[in-house]
Amino acid sequence: MSDRSLPLIPRDRAAHPPAYDPDYKTSVARAPRQALISMDSTPTEEHGPRFGHDLLGPLDNDLVLNWTKGAAPALGERILVHGRVRDETGRPVPGTLVEIWQANAGGRYRHAKDGYLAPLDPNFGGCGRTITDDRGDYQFLTIRPGAYPWPNRGNEWRPAHIHVSIFGSGFGQRLITQMYFEGDPLIAHCPIAATVRDRGQLEALVAPLDMAMAKPMDFLAYRFDIVLRGRRQTMFENRPEGL
C-alpha cells in the first residue's frame, strides 16, 4: 500500500439504512435530527490504521477453538465463513483487518448485559479476527449462532447473524455490518434487517450456503463477500472532468 491520499467516492447513502427507524426502537433517540454535513474526503479519512500479521495469534480466526486455546471445541454446527473484501470499483482490499463477533449455538452472548436464559458454552468465546490476504480473501471457522430474543416489540427474535467489522485502507471506509444465513425465515421478521430499505442490499447481507467450500465430515461453509467504499482513480484529482 502506498501512502497516497486518494479521495473516497462519496457514500451512496441509499445503500444504507436511515439513521431513524421507529420499528427499531433504540434508533429513535439515537438518530441525529440534523442532516449530515457533506464534503469531500480529506487525508484524515483517506488514511487509516494498518495492522500487521504480527497482531494475530494462530487461533484468532478459529472461534471453535480460540476460547479454550485449542483445548476443547465449541458446541454447535461447525461452519466455515469466508469471502472476499473488495471496494466499489471491484478491486480487492488486501491486508485489511476483519473482526467478527457472535452469539453461541443457543443464541447467548458472552457479555455481562446478556441475560438470556440459554446457557453459555464454556468452550465458546464469540470473537474472531483475521487479515485479508493478497486477493482480499478471509476466512473464519466458527459455529452457527442461534437466534435470540430481544426487547423491542412484544415477541422479537434476531435471525442468526454474525457481526462483521472491516477497516479498508482509509478511516472513511470503516464499516460494521451483519451477516445473515441463507434461508433463515426470521430475516423477514427482523426490524434491524429491515432498516436496509433496498432489497438487493439486504440480500447481499445474506450469505449463501457454499457446498464447494464445505469439508466433508467436518464443516459446512457460507460465503459472505463484502464491498467497501471505493477510491477515485483519476490521476488528476484537482482537474475537473474533461479538462
Binding site: E45, C127, L175
Partner: protein, 199 residues
C-alpha cells in the same frame, strides 16, 4: 467519473448492537486474554513527540441519557500532522484508539497526543483534530465526527468553514478544563446536537 459506480455497491451497514465490545474490545467485555494484543489500546507509545492530553466525555442520546454501550474509534495524525504510514511520520504514533463508554456511568476517556495541522487537498491546513467514529446499539450507520481543541487556532479550518450554521461549530470543539485536559460531550440528537459528517 473514472472507476465510477457501474459495478458494485457498498455493503449495507448494520448497527453494531449491544455486544460490540465482544468483537472490538474483548477486554472491556470480560473476554480479556482471548487475543494477544487488542488493536487501538492507545494512539501512541511512550516517547512520542507532542503534548499528551486527556479528553473526557459522554455520548448522550436525544433524551439526555448517557450511552453506556457506545464504542468510539479515534484516528488522528502525529504531532507533525502526519498519519501513520506516511513518510516521516512519528513511528511511535499509531494514531488509532478504541474507547468504550463506562458500563456504569457512560463516561469515556481518550488519552492521546495532540495532533498537528494536516494539509487540506483544496489548500490551507486543517486545525488539529481527532476523527471520531461512533457505533452502538440504535446507530444504524457509524457516525463520523471530529474533535477540535478550544485552545488551538480553529479559524479558517476548511472543514469547520463548511458548516453553514456557525452556532453548531462549538459542538465539535473540546473545552479545556485544565492543563492538558479537555471535555467533549457528543450529543446524538436534539439541543446542541453534534455535527456529523458525510465525507
Amino acid at each position: 467519473m473514472a472507476g465510477g459506480r457501474d459495478n458494485l455497491r457498498e455493503s449495507a451497514s448494520q448497527t453494531a448492537g449491544p455486544y460490540v465490545h465482544i468483537g472490538l474490545a474483548p477486554g472491556h467485555a470480560g473476554l480479556g486474554g482471548i487475543y494477544g494484543v487488542e488493536p487501538g489500546r492507545s494512539t501512541f507509545e511512550a516517547g512520542a513527540a507532542g503534548e499528551v492530553v486527556t479528553i473526557t466525555g459522554r455520548v448522550l442520546d436525544g433524551t439526555g441519557w448517557a450511552l453506556r454501550d457506545a464504542l468510539i474509534e479515534a484516528w488522528q495524525a502525529d504531532a507533525g500532522g502526519l498519519y501513520a504510514g506516511q513518510a516521516g511520520a512519528d513511528p511511535r504514533v499509531g494514531g488509532f484508539a478504541r474507547i468504550c463508554a463506562d458500563a456504569a456511568t457512560g463516561e469515556w476517556t481518550l488519552r492521546t497526543i495532540k495532533p498537528g495541522r494536516v494539509p487540506h487537498p483544496a489548500g490551507g491546513t486543517m486545525a488539529p483534530h481527532v476523527a471520531l467514529w461512533i457505533v452502538a446499539r440504535g446507530i444504524n450507520v457509524g457516525l463520523q465526527t471530529r474533535l477540535y481543541f478550544e485552545d488551538e487556532r480553529n479559524e479558517g479550518d476548511p472543514v469547520l468553514a463548511r458548516i453553514e450554521h456557525k452556532h453548531r461549530v462549538p459542538t465539535l470543539i473540546a473545552t479545556r478544563t485544565g492543563p492538558g485536559a479537555y471535555r467533549f460531550d457528543i450529543r446524538l440528537q436534539g439541543e446542541g446536537e453534534t455535527v456529523f459528517f458525510d465525507m
